[in-house]
């Protein structure tokens, strides 16, 4: 009796496929249960229905409208918050006097969750764009500020001393030693704050908005369009992942010297040991 031979995949391909096995099975199970009516559509629509909703929204252009609005808000809020965080991180990191003046105030403000300010923000700005941009900026500011400050303060004092002995001016020390040395830490702050920007935006758009992905989801709730709601959630996950990849790309670009980001010579296969 000839034994059944499963197809022979090469081991590397196998390794990259195996992690997808469980999600795929769950998806199939979900599809089956939903289409049999075991899970009511009101609670969770079938994956196929969600895909269909996505395609429809894409066709009608509604999706791109909301998407670009949300991305714009996240982008503007991020730029404002991150620039200010970077600016104050640099000022306080480089000037102990400024740190004395400002740092403890920042530490106090840091403990306020930005979302706790929503009622106040709505009173200040209404539900216009400023409200959401403001919330995102506040949320982004602190991670960037803290990591910039920390990055500057944790530079090896030996390197700064070396700069002095080699006759560098204070400005040259900042540009040649302090800033490049703090960059890895600053980028950690950037990456972290991108995640925060999306979280704040989701909540902000669901509570007070008339456009954007969060609004799209809340609007769908009124019409019990669970497919669109689930699709919005997936969209946030994808956008978060996308911005994280962008931050990582930035790390690779800005830190080519860093051992963690150095491209290993994969093109050259390691030679076998001498036989």
């Amino acid at each position: 009796m000839a034994r059944f031979q499963p197809f022979q995949l090469n081991p590397r391909l196998k390794r990259s496929l195996i992690p997808w096995l469980v999600p795929l099975l769950l998806l199939v199970l979900w599809q089956l249960l939903a289409s049999r009516g075991v899970i009511p559509t009101r609670i969770l629509p079938a994956p196929s229905a969600i895909a269909l909703a996505a395609i429809n929204m894409g066709r009608s252009g509604e999706l791109w409208g909301h998407l670009s609005i949300s991305a714009g808000r996240a982008g503007v809020g991020f730029l404002i918050g991150a620039s200010l965080g970077l600016l104050f991180g640099l000022i306080n990191g480089l000037m102990p006097r400024a740190e004395l003046l400002l740092d403890s105030s920042f530490q106090m403000l840091r403990n306020i969750p930005p979302l706790a300010m929503i009622p106040l923000v709505i009173l200040w700005f209404g539900i216009g764009e400023e409200a959401r941009v403001f919330l995102v900026s506040v949320g982004v500011f602190f991670p960037v500020y803290l990591n910039t400050f920390h990055g500057i303060r944790s530079i090896d004092p030996g390197l700064i001393e070396m700069g002095k002995v080699y006759g560098l001016s204070p400005w040259q020390i900042v540009t040649n030693i302090v800033l490049p040395g703090a960059t890895p830490s600053i980028l950690v702050g950037v990456r972290f704050s991108l995640g925060i920007a999306w979280i704040i935006l989701i909540v902000g758009e669901q509570i007070a908005a008339n456009s954007g992905i969060g609004y799209m989801a809340m609007n769908a709730r009124e019409f019990m369009q669970t497919d669109i709601i689930v699709f919005s959630i997936i969209l946030y996950a994808l956008l978060g992942k996308l911005s994280d990849s962008m931050a990582r790309g930035l790390e690779h670009r800005l830190l080519p010297w860093h051992p963690n980001f150095q491209r290993t010579a994969k093109a050259v296969p390691s030679k076998p040991a001498i036989s």
């Binding site: 030996g158 390197l159 001393e161 070396m162 700069g163 002095k164 002995v165 080699y166 006759g167 560098l168 040259q172 040649n176 030693i177 490049p180 040395g181 960059t183 830190l255 080519p256 010297w257 860093h258 051992p259 150095q262």
Partner: protein
């Protein structure tokens, strides 16, 4: 020696440094002529690095002062280049950019030239993280050399290197010193290194210069030559019997250094003149020139 400008001369006048009420250097008087190679040895924590930091102007003395070419030193000493033990290279700059740090104008060709001198011109574009420890030290050396310093301060520059690389680097430093004629102050734990390179070896003890050895052995010096081993053994004994543990029998400095052939005779101090007061209390009995750990002359 193709010396254009002579090496910097140094004069330390009652140089004193105290940390939190604890004296680290107490009233050190010392004159170093331009172009000399001086080594400073001593136990860990005796103030060797502190002395170098004072000479480089990174630290201000609590009392007394330093005269550089006769001028009092008030801020960072721009005649001096320090080579630190850990190299202190910037990982975010290429090898060549590290060498030219802070230079203006067209230094790149000169940078490559200096790198060729230390045998690293092919690595000019590499990141520091890709270099071995010895290669990093050579970059640090190139970086110190590019400005043609008149005073080189070396704080255990080779401490982290393996024995072979260390010997290579010592030869490199010696050759560069012979070519360039700068004044060198070398702090080291390795007595053999001091004897290989320096023509004057100071033993620092409790913030004072306890002994001042003159070393006129002919260059290039070879470990294992009788004069070399003798001097090494004697310096080691001086260091090891410090701090009141000197129960082992001793010999005096003059006894040992007599055997060393004076050759250039340009040392500013008479042979083995003790700067501390301890020399006279020592008995001298044991045979000289024993292989007394001369090859394991590493103090910690």
């Amino acid at each position: 020696m193709s010396t254009t400008t002579p090496g910097t001369s140094l004069q330390l006048v009652e140089l004193t440094k105290t940390y939190a009420g604890r004296p680290v250097l107490s009233a050190i008087d010392l004159a170093v002529d331009g172009g000399h190679f001086v080594a400073i040895v001593g136990r860990s924590g005796c103030g060797k690095s502190t002395l170098l930091r004072l000479l480089s102007g990174l630290e201000a003395p609590c009392d007394g002062g330093v005269l550089v070419n006769g001028e009092p030193l008030r801020s960072v000493n721009l005649h001096a280049r320090i080579m630190f033990q850990d190299g202190r290279l910037l990982p975010w700059k290429s090898v060549l950019d590290n060498v030219g740090l802070g230079l203006r104008g067209d230094w790149r060709s000169r940078g490559l030239e200096v790198l060729r001198h230390v045998g690293l011109h092919e690595r000019a574009g590499d990141w520091i993280a890709r270099l071995s420890g010895g290669q990093r030290q050579r970059v640090a050396l190139a970086k110190a050399l590019i400005t043609q310093p008149r005073l080189m301060l070396l704080d255990e520059p080779l401490g982290a290197l393996d024995a072979l690389t260390r010997i290579e680097m010592q030869q490199l430093i010696e050759n560069l010193w012979l070519e360039e004629g700068f004044t060198s102050i070398l702090v080291t734990h390795d007595v053999e290194e001091a004897v290989t390179l320096a023509d004057r070896i100071l033993v620092l003890e409790e913030g004072r210069i306890a002994r001042d050895f003159r070393n006129d052995l002919q260059r290039p010096r070879r470990r294992g030559d009788p004069g070399f081993s003798q001097l090494t053994a004697e310096i080691l004994d001086t260091i090891l019997t410090q701090g009141g543990q000197g129960s082992a029998p001793q010999k005096t400095a003059d006894h040992a250094t007599e055997a060393v052939t004076p050759e250039h005779g340009h040392s500013p101090r008479p042979t083995g003149q003790p700067a501390g007061a301890r020399g006279s209390e020592r008995s001298d009995s044991p045979p000289i020139g024993e292989p007394s750990g001369a090859l394991t002359a590493q103090l910690q």
